[in-house]
Subunit: 343 residues, 2 copies
């Protein structure tokens, strides 16, 4: 089985964007704020939004199940207030649940959290619990910078974040560290902010003892771990200069990278320097890069091809990347797959 | 000849730090502000600060000349005001000039600029001109985020920056894009802020037509180009989705990466995906990572070893990385080398 651990619902029917616009209009006039029940999308519209996109690519590329969450850039934690954020997360997550209901063999849900800049993330516990217990989701996306490019919240290792970590551990769900769009003109979203967010989170984890406090807490750092594998010597060296244990002990029992790296040499490097147990297959489709690479004639984000090309990878290790590691990191995944007859 | 294009004076005598402390004390009480002439450092102290460090490593590693600038983390553009910043840059640059005077065969100067958050960088023209024309420097370090981790200034492609670019072109000097220390607790300086700065700058250059306005403007993006080479497919794909010309035409006649990547697989990737003409040898010593890699028994930042290990590199290309590209990017370098009898 080939499990893609990183897919977003980037192709949702346009009613979702209209709902968001209505929310924005309601920021000035509370009477205009839409309720969750106001969003009307038919099953056929959901099917149409996926059939020509994510489902088509799954079939064409030969991947099986996608761990699927709301559009990352759409989370927009920097916009609105606690109330609009809570409704927005609920609506987006409910839509993912419907996708999973319509295509139980193709999608498994991961939720967006109603984070708000400056508001302790314990405000997200209720939605996380609802998504896991009621909707059957297996993880969440955690935004390390709800301010959208100004990095105003404390580092992920601060006690500020501990309540949500406690709940994650209790529910046995990992978080993918994923920023949303950038409202800072310095940062292009998918070209700078996303990658910087990954690099920043990893370095935050190095400089603290978070995983002593939470030995069972797990994070997936997407986009191949940002800049980290390319600079693996730098990170090993920085940790050593700080008299920390080797990274393999210090944080690599808790931190995992996905394979959203859009060329073969990048994937080759990733699998050369990072332990295979820490790498989860993912493509982020349909996502940041939509085109076909003229150098290969294939989609940039068809990352399965790059993993397939790795000749030195044993079959055992290939299976870990495609399936086994995801089953380990997402503690609830096995049970969900089994319940859906996917074993 | 082996030219290291990225070295900082991280080992300056302690009087320099004391001078800075005095400046900080003077922020509240202007009468306490030191004047440039108050900094007293003897030639022997400068020699002692280099002999056991940069010079020792040059000898041991077999590199010849280092393009040398003040400590990047010490620039601290986010601290102080225009006046203290101007004096601080002058003092730091004058010290580099003395280093170059004492060791003309080992060091060539690059200057720190007196940038101030929110102050247009045209305020730096005078110091740049002084350093190039009077001190014989061949480039400058340009901080894309003088706010020190809050990214409050406009992107590098904004007309805000054009006056300094005009002067750079007129003087035929490139800038290394280099942030300083981070006052944002989200960003570790050398592990996150530095690398993010590199990635961010590259993406800013992609999304504009800066090099149509300045076809002769040149930038070195240090630390191996941040995350860029590892995600080269992403950047090619993003540019293609935006209907931009190939990166080789769009910006790679103006943007160069150094080799400050502290493990062999990283350097291998860099030289595999980035055109050799765009890669300049550098080690950043004595800098971000000071230790010895237990996996190799050699210093992490002894990047010459990694380049030496590249078996597929032709001698012609090796010479480009070690010497030829630096001579092209730093337009004044040939003349300076010649004047010092280094040809």
């Amino acid at each position: 089985m080939i499990i893609d651990c990183h897919g977003h619902y980037t192709t949702a029917p346009q009613q979702l964007a209209a709902f968001r616009q209505q929310q924005m209009a309601g920021l000035k006039d509370k009477s205009q704020r839409p309720k969750a029940a106001d969003l009307r999308i038919g099953d056929d519209e959901i099917r149409a939004s996926l059939e020509g996109a994510q489902l088509k690519f799954q079939r064409e590329r030969g991947t099986d199940v996608t761990i699927f969450s709301p559009r990352a850039a759409g989370m927009e934690h920097h916009v609105g207030d606690e109330e609009t954020g809570a409704v927005w997360a609920r609506v987006c997550n409910d839509l993912i649940a419907r996708v999973c209901g319509l295509y139980p063999k193709n999608f498994i849900g991961v939720c967006q959290l109603p984070q708000v800049p400056g508001v302790p993330p314990k405000n997200c516990i209720r939605e996380l619990e609802r998504c896991v217990k009621e909707l059957g989701f297996i993880g969440c996306n955690l935004n390390p910078d709800p301010s959208g490019g100004y990095w105003k919240d404390p580092p992920l290792t601060d006690k500020y974040w501990y309540p949500i970590y406690e709940k994650m551990v209790e529910l046995d769900v990992p978080a993918m560290i994923h920023v949303s769009s950038s409202c800072n003109p310095a940062f292009h979203a998918t070209g700078a902010h996303y990658i910087n967010g990954d690099t920043t989170a990893f370095m935050q984890f190095i400089t603290a003892d978070l995983f002593k406090d939470f030995p069972r807490l797990k994070f997936v750092i997407p986009h191949g771990g940002g800049a980290v594998p390319y600079h693996w010597g730098r990170y090993r060296g920085l940790a050593q200069d700080m008299k920390l244990p080797p990274l393999s002990e210090h944080l690599m029992k808790n931190v995992f990278f996905d394979t959203c790296v859009y060329h073969y040499p990048g994937i080759e490097l990733l699998t050369k320097v990072i332990a295979i147990d820490n790498i989860l297959f993912a493509s982020e489709m349909v996502g940041a890069v939509k085109g076909i690479d003229p150098e290969t004639g294939q989609y940039f984000d068809d990352t399965k091809r790059y993993v397939d090309q790795l000749k030195s990878l044993s079959e055992e290790n290939r299976k870990k990347i495609f399936e086994g590691n995801a089953r380990k990191v997402y503690g609830r995944l096995d049970a969900v797959l089994k319940a859906r007859g996917l074993n």
